[in-house]
């Protein structure tokens, strides 16, 4: 067989690459029939297992802390921080009549080492960090499909293509890792890691609940902001190293955009920081407990404006539409990642979607009550039984509320991307420097004066707080109403021809 293009020898894969390819193939051969047969139960079991696993870890960590506190054995330090002996743990377990103490004591003995606990927690964060982009990408494709009157992925995994991103992942691992001939090879290869690592580090400082935080750092907000800022370097280095004019244009746009939008973003974030008096995200979150009227966005008009300013800047900081100039498909091919392929390309996307989650999480933590539900906490059940506490946990505060709010803002970002047109780079900079920055400055000053003149408890403060809370609820109601209307009419949006060809119709 003769081909019109120059013949290329097949790529010689290294042993590691061959191993990964073989692994992916085996996983596909084994998993595909199972996934095809029982898609729903697999999904639900996975969710249930992850919830149970995180619960188990948190529970065991708590028990270890309790034992360590009750057995004041501080002078003896032993190898790897294993200060308690198995016998001491056994005594505590028998005292508190814990079932299956015989097996649990050895587990607890291992878990008392901070290193082991940190490894488990980091694994958990890594899984969360990987699951969020996988599903955000799938969801983005579904939302894009619905908005454009098509279906989006429907085949992989059968139920609305829920396994599409996993299938894509397998494909991307197998793809050839191309480096363009004229590229600066080391920088080209290293750039995706500069995107991936900061996004992951931001997750380490992000609290999901009062106690659900890996490292309760005093400067958590600054750390997360710093990580978001460092991510730009990957775009610039990757774009420059590609030695492609589209990539360099994308990188330069990103640099402009990030450097200018970081300023109003930081100023807007100072407003809730001033309200709570701390940079610690757990403290800021806890300061907003007690119902929707205590959320920082509703404290005064300036705080509400700051919330809107922050949201706009967060769109710019993770290159989402209408600020997606660095990868503008219609003008720059794919912007800074034009030359990337395979898994390195996927890493840029993982970082982007993880950053979207992080900015949503910051928005929720700082302005919209963090992990607290809108219901007033005075309604919480008084009973101290585990089920009453569990119900309180679901209805009033907890990681579920936090994830729910974050996912809502993630959805708003997807929604905006497929609705708004992209704006020009000069418009982006004009909007930042001449509109958003002055607004942010006035907001900061106004908030400071408001805190000085109308402290919490004064009549003006209370009236404005109530009015703003009502406005906020109206906004939320409208958003939920639109979403519900869209969901109710989802078949109408697609069209009857498509519905008739759905699998299972």
């Amino acid at each position: 067989m003769s081909v019109p293009w120059e013949h290329r020898r097949p790529v010689q894969y290294r042993a590691s690459a061959r191993f990964i390819i073989a692994l992916a193939t085996v996983v596909y051969r084994v998993a595909a029939p199972i996934v095809r047969a029982v898609p729903g139960p697999i999904l639900l079991t996975a969710v249930a297992l992850s919830v149970l696993a995180s619960w188990g870890c948190m529970g065991l960590f708590g028990v270890v802390d309790d034992i360590a506190a009750s057995t004041a054995n501080t002078e003896a330090t032993s190898f790897a921080g294993l200060t308690l002996t198995v016998a001491e743990i056994d005594v505590w377990l028998v005292e508190h009549s814990v079932p299956a103490a015989g097996a649990v004591k050895y587990l607890l003995w291992v878990l008392q080492s901070e290193i082991v606990r940190d490894l488990i927690a980091v694994t958990g964060i890594l899984i969360l960090f990987n699951i969020i982009p996988v599903y955000a990408i799938w969801w983005e494709r579904k939302v894009a499909g619905r908005i454009q009157s098509r279906l989006g992925p429907m085949r992989a995994g059968c139920w609305h293509g829920w396994a599409q991103s996993f299938a894509d992942g397998v494909k991307l691992i197998i793809k050839e890792d191309l480096v363009p001939g004229g590229a600066d090879k080391p920088l080209f290869l290293v750039a995706p890691y500069f995107a991936f690592a900061p996004a992951f580090l931001a997750f380490c400082a992000l609290p999901l609940g009062t106690y659900w935080v890996f490292r309760n750092v005093d400067v958590a907000l600054l750390l997360v902001l710093g990580m978001l800022g460092v991510e730009v370097v990957s775009v610039i280095v990757g774009g420059w190293a590609s030695n492609n004019k589209w990539s360099v244009y994308g990188a330069m746009r990103e640099a402009c955009q990030m450097v200018s939008y970081e300023v109003p973003m930081g100023l807007a974030l100072l407003v809730p920081v001033m309200t709570a008096g701390s940079l610690n995200l757990v403290v800021i979150g806890e300061a907003q407990s007690g119902g929707w009227h205590t959320w920082a966005a509703f404290h005064n008009p300036f705080a509400f404006v700051a919330f809107v300013v922050y949201f706009i800047c967060s769109l710019a900081s993770c290159k989402r539409a209408p600020f997606d100039l660095p990868e503008a498909e219609s003008e720059l091919v794919a912007g800074f990642h034009t030359e990337y392929s395979g898994f390195r390309w996927a890493m840029f996307f993982f970082a982007e979607y993880a950053a979207m989650f992080v900015v949503s999480a910051l928005c929720v933590t700082l302005f919209l009550g963090a992990w607290h539900s809108p219901l007033p906490q005075s309604w919480a059940l008084e009973s101290s039984s585990i089920w009453a506490k569990g119900l309180n946990g679901i209805l009033f505060s907890g990681p579920v509320w936090f994830l729910f709010k974050c996912v809502f803002f993630l959805y708003v970002q997807l929604w905006l991307r497929w609705t708004l047109p992209r704006i020009r780079i000069d418009q982006v900079l004009h909007a930042c420097v001449q509109v958003i920055l002055p607004i942010a400055l006035v907001t900061l000053l106004g908030h400071a004066l408001w805190m000085l003149w109308f402290p919490a408890g004064s009549i003006v403060y209370a009236i404005v707080n109530v009015l703003l809370s009502i406005v906020g609820v109206c906004f939320l109601g409208v958003a939920v109403g639109i979403a519900a209307y869209g969901f109710a009419n989802r078949r109408r949006l697609i069209g009857y021809l498509a519905v008739d060809h759905l699998p299972g119709s």
């Binding site: 901070e114 059968c158 400067v219 420059w240 009033f396």
Partner: protein, 233 residues
């Protein structure tokens, strides 16, 4: 379609209504499973919220550096990142390509931030990341991209420049090493738990005048830059 035949069969077996019921039941089971999980985080009205206020004594975790493994790990991290700092700082000087220099500088600054983290100086570490790694460096690369004539511009050092650089470096090294040897370093100082709050209070009370002078200086620089950059009318 062959791929989804099993799915179609399943659908034929359970009606859409049945599937909804199964999903609802699964959701209820899931929420029940979640209940004890969330119980740990639930507020109880009678109970007081966890004291997280600034004036409350911070829960400084028990020093884990006592155990040999932790100490070894900490030392390994310190020497590892110190090595990275030195190697990447040397690489800045050795490499000829300006963008590679910037990337090496990025690695140096990041590793110095890690060293600050190891010393429990979180505020300085994060500020290092935001201001130097995230801000200054981006501006630097941006300036290079806008001003460089060709993408592969290289720096060639003249002999005189090399001589001057060596003299300056040796003088600096002598001065630094002399200072380091002559200083009494405080050992085993516990990390300040609320360094940010203390720092902010000090900046706005004791050191208000220098702080304001620095702000005015920055403002003057900004106005000057804007004046230089504006278009001639």
């Amino acid at each position: 379609m062959q791929t989804c035949s099993t799915y179609s069969r399943t659908v034929g077996w359970t009606t859409a209504c049945g599937r909804r019921a199964v999903s609802a039941a699964a959701l209820i089971v899931l929420l029940t499973l979640c209940a004890p999980v969330l119980a740990q985080d639930a507020p109880t009205p009678g109970q007081e919220a966890p004291s997280l206020a600034l004036d409350a004594p911070a829960e400084v975790p028990a020093a884990t550096s006592d155990s040999p493994v932790s100490a070894v790990l900490e030392a390994a991290f310190f020497y590892g990142f110190a090595l990275v700092v030195i190697v990447s700082a040397l690489a800045i000087c050795i490499s000829k390509n300006i963008v590679r220099m910037a990337v090496w500088l990025f690695i140096t600054l990041g590793s110095v931030a890690v060293l600050y983290f190891l010393l429990a100086a979180y505020f300085i570490a994060t500020i290092q990341l935001i201001v130097y790694a995230g801000g200054t460096l981006v501006l630097l690369i941006f300036g290079v991209m806008l001003t460089s004539k060709s993408p592969w511009a290289r720096f060639e050092i003249k002999r005189g420049e090399l001589l001057a650089a060596v003299v300056v470096s040796v003088l600096l090294a002598v001065a630094l090493i002399g200072t380091l040897m002559g200083t009494e370093w405080p050992q085993d100082q516990p990390a300040e738990p609320h360094a940010v709050a203390t720092l902010g209070t000090e900046l706005l009370t004791t050191y208000l005048a220098p702080f304001e002078v620095a702000s005015v200086l920055l403002l003057a620089v900004m106005i000057g830059a804007a004046y230089l950059a504006r278009q001639e009318k």
